[in-house]
């Protein structure tokens, strides 16, 4: 028997280390079972998670484990009678979360110890690079990737084989393969999970890419905010070097490749490939004019190829199983699977990998369980600050680069933030503009100043000072930025606003014309009142009002003095009868 504690960043934040320590402390030297760790299982909402294995078979999955459960777990495993753990066991409903997924990029996540190269090898690891080096030419590898239909998972969805082929065909005394792990989209964490949970899969995918384009040096540009991912990848690189999988004459071939990590320093724009190259060269991360494309003159002016983590995570699988097996999944335009980070007001949040062609409804409702706390679904934000908010009427949209693009949102890196009826769409657009104004590098005037002006207009609207013509002004600014920005960050910055206006125009109009916030979120546009019919006079609100604005007599309906009220919302959050509320 083996006890395995899930230790991705989410698990650790939820207390997985304490759980591990308590299990370790409860174990005795005489125990025949072992204790290990694994990465992110993807069911973030159930963390910390503890799995009990008998050989290779998972016999029990325990969820929301606390440090105090350590002894119970150890004694149950020791006795061989696991029935004492039924209270912690995962429910059948929660099992659906994984059961409905098809995992390729995440195939080892949560199953193997990320710090142990042997665990990866035991699951067929490094067989793909061996196969590529012994049986395939670099052109053959590129052809296989072409057959697979793999497209860039970082957001743009550009065909991977095309980029590889361009980097291969351009001459240069040295070529570089770069992995973009600068996962800056707020609400996306799939790349982090892959690196933390299955770092060798990334290394192997990169090695195959390096072989295909003829690169002798590979660099992983990782966000500095991901310290655990950096530590695990450093360790994995060391192990691979020791085995001879990285370095000179890999697997006895004449292919040599070295790999290193470069920690980013916090700039969203560095997710754009030319900005990333500038940053790698030690400069301010400002995008370059294209052409020349990185495949022609990239890092250190040499032909370079940049792919996202998730893209590389699919490569070894494709080489081993064939491109046709990959392209058998998905739609006409989009092949294979896509990983989504499902968050926000969702019942079951975490990492979801599904074949392309599934609907948003399938991901959010069948897998994610829908909106939590009994609220109703309002919108899903796809693709972070470059994407858009889609309403309920578009939930049957299928996951496909082109089809999602046509809605005004984008596939993006795969962030999916679910919003309920209490989310204000104007405020949400303002939130994204706040982000883009701060992250704009400042190179292009439209992006630098246009986003700022949009932010001011949106702020004005949420403060109840919206004017007629503001929607049109926003639209005009959006078009200017789309046309006037050099890079993807700027060109897509208007998307959250454009989709919000397209699908939630009535909400904008309510803010501007009626000075009302239908979601009751914009403080300047709401007031609080107590419903006389519902109030039982318990006095809870009056006792907790920080400014004493609620008056009344016990067992009789209370009232709020709106002149004194500071709209903190405490009364509404405390009221057990739904009497105190925002209007």
């Amino acid at each position: 028997m083996k006890i395995v504690v899930g230790q991705g960043s989410c698990g650790i934040a939820a207390g997985a280390e304490q759980v591990y320590n308590s299990i370790s402390a409860a174990m005795a030297d005489s125990d025949s079972f072992t204790l290990g760790i694994t990465g992110c299982i993807g069911m973030c909402y159930l963390e910390p998670i503890v799995d009990i294995y008998d050989g290779d078979a998972l016999v029990k999955r325990l969820v929301r484990v606390a440090a105090k459960d350590g002894e119970v777990i150890v004694s149950a495993v020791r006795s061989g009678d696991l029935s004492a753990l039924s209270a912690l066991e995962i429910s059948e409903e929660d099992e659906q979360f994984l059961g409905l997924q098809t995992r390729i990029a995440l195939r080892n996540c949560g199953l193997i110890d990320p710090n142990d190269i042997e665990a990866y090898i035991a699951r067929g690891g490094y067989e793909a690079i061996k196969k590529a080096l012994s049986d395939m030419s670099p052109e053959g590898v590129i052809e296989e990737i072409k057959v697979s239909g793999l497209a860039g998972r970082g957001g743009a969805g550009f065909p991977t084989w095309f980029k590889w082929n361009a980097a291969r065909s351009n001459a240069g005394e040295k070529k570089y393969l770069i992995c973009n792990a600068d996962e800056g989209d707020p609400g996306a964490f799939m790349d982090r999970a892959v690196i933390e949970s299955d770092p060798h899969n990334l290394i192997e995918g990169m090695l195959i890419g390096a072989y295909a384009i003829g690169a002798s040096e590979a660099v992983v540009y990782v966000r500095a905010e991901y310290p655990l991912a950096i530590t695990r990848l450093e360790e994995a690189i060391k192990q691979a070097e020791k085995k001879g999988y990285l370095g000179d004459n890999i697997f006895g071939s004449d292919f040599s490749c070295r790999m290193r990590i470069k920690a980013g320093a916090g700039a969203f724009v560095c997710g754009e490939e030319t900005a990333l190259i500038e940053s790698l060269e030690g400069k301010r991360g400002m995008p370059r004019l294209k052409p020349p494309f990185p495949a022609q003159r990239g890092y250190n002016d040499m032909p370079s190829n940049i792919n996202n983590v998730e893209t590389f995570a699919n490569v070894a699988w494709i080489i081993l199983n064939g491109g046709a097996a990959f392209s058998a999944m998905g739609t006409e335009n989009s092949k294979g699977t896509k990983v989504f980070a499902l968050t926000g007001k969702i019942k079951r949040g975490g990492l979801v990998e599904v074949p392309m062609g599934k609907t948003l409804r399938h991901v959010i409702f069948d897998i994610g369980g829908g909106v939590r706390n009994g609220r109703s679904f309002k919108a899903v934000q796809m693709g972070g600050p470059s994407g858009g908010c889609l309403p309920e009427s578009l939930l049957d949209t299928v996951i496909d680069y082109k089809i999602l693009g046509a809605t005004g949102a984008i596939m993006g890196s795969g962030g999916m933030v679910v919003m309920d009826d209490r989310t204000c769409m104007v405020n949400m657009a303002r939130f994204f503009l706040d982000f883009t104004t701060k992250e704009s590098c400042g190179k292009c005037v439209h992006c630098r100043i246009g986003t700022k002006r949009m932010y001011e207009v949106l702020t004005r609207i949420t403060e109840g000072k919206g004017k007629e013509g503001d929607i049109e002004l926003l639209e005009e600014l959006c078009m200017g930025i789309k046309d006037g920005a050099l890079c993807g960050l700027g060109q897509t910055a208007p998307n959250p606003v454009l989709t919000a206006i397209r699908y939630f125009r009535d909400e904008y109009e309510a803010h501007i014309n009626d000075k009302k916030c239908p979601a009751h979120q914009c403080t300047a546009l709401i007031s609080y009142e107590i419903d006389k019919e519902k109030c039982v006079g318990c006095s809870l609100c009056a006792r907790n009002c920080p400014v004493g604005a609620i008056k009344g007599v016990v067992k009789q309906p209370y009232t709020i003095d709106n002149a004194a009220c500071i709209k903190c919302g405490k009364c509404a959050s405390l009221c057990r009868f739904g009497a105190a509320r925002a209007v």
Partner: protein, 165 residues
């Protein structure tokens, strides 16, 4: 002596020599050198900017340009506890705004500020990637999830007690 006329006694620049020896030869390593400098000094002092520029064959303006471009770099010292409050989308939807208000009110500082006793600094960050635990804050590398305004203030109080002991 610091060159920015701030009358500070200046930083112990020798501490950086090992780093500059390993990385200083290649201008492409400027970000790495700045990261190491911040690990040593806790922030990037102005005299360190001049020193790095001199040793790496660059100019103070260029080094400063890079240091101010990336959010990771701080040009002022920070408190004992650095509160990184996540302002990502998932945290925003789940109420990080209320958490920020509560922290600011409790510590009487704003984003980017440090308390007078030098104990706490607050920094809003884009996304910590712990979205399923939103709203989240990270203090000196430890993540605290599923926050409420009261819970956040409670955590700060606990840390204050811990520091006093």
């Amino acid at each position: 002596m610091c060159k920015c006329n701030c009358s500070s006694a200046g930083s112990d620049l020798k501490l950086l020599d090992g780093v500059l020896e390993s990385y200083g030869g290649d201008k492409g390593n400027l970000i790495t050198v700045l990261q190491k400098a911040q690990e040593i000094y806790g922030y990037i002092p102005t005299d360190v900017v001049y020193y790095i520029a001199e040793k790496m064959g660059s100019t103070p303006a260029k080094v400063m340009g890079v240091a101010t471009f990336y959010t990771q770099f701080r040009l002022k010292p920070i408190g004992k506890y650095l509160i990184m409050l996540c302002k990502g989308t998932a945290c925003h939807v789940n109420g990080s705004g209320e958490i920020e208000k509560a922290i600011c009110k409790h510590l009487n500082i704003e984003d980017g500020g440090t308390t007078d006793d030098g104990l706490f600094s607050l920094k809003n960050v884009a996304c910590l990637g712990c979205c399923s635990l939103s709203p989240v804050m990270m203090i000196n590398g430890v993540a605290y999830g599923s926050l409420t305004p009261d819970k956040a203030v409670g955590i700060l109080e606990d840390l204050k007690k811990e520091a006093a002991e």
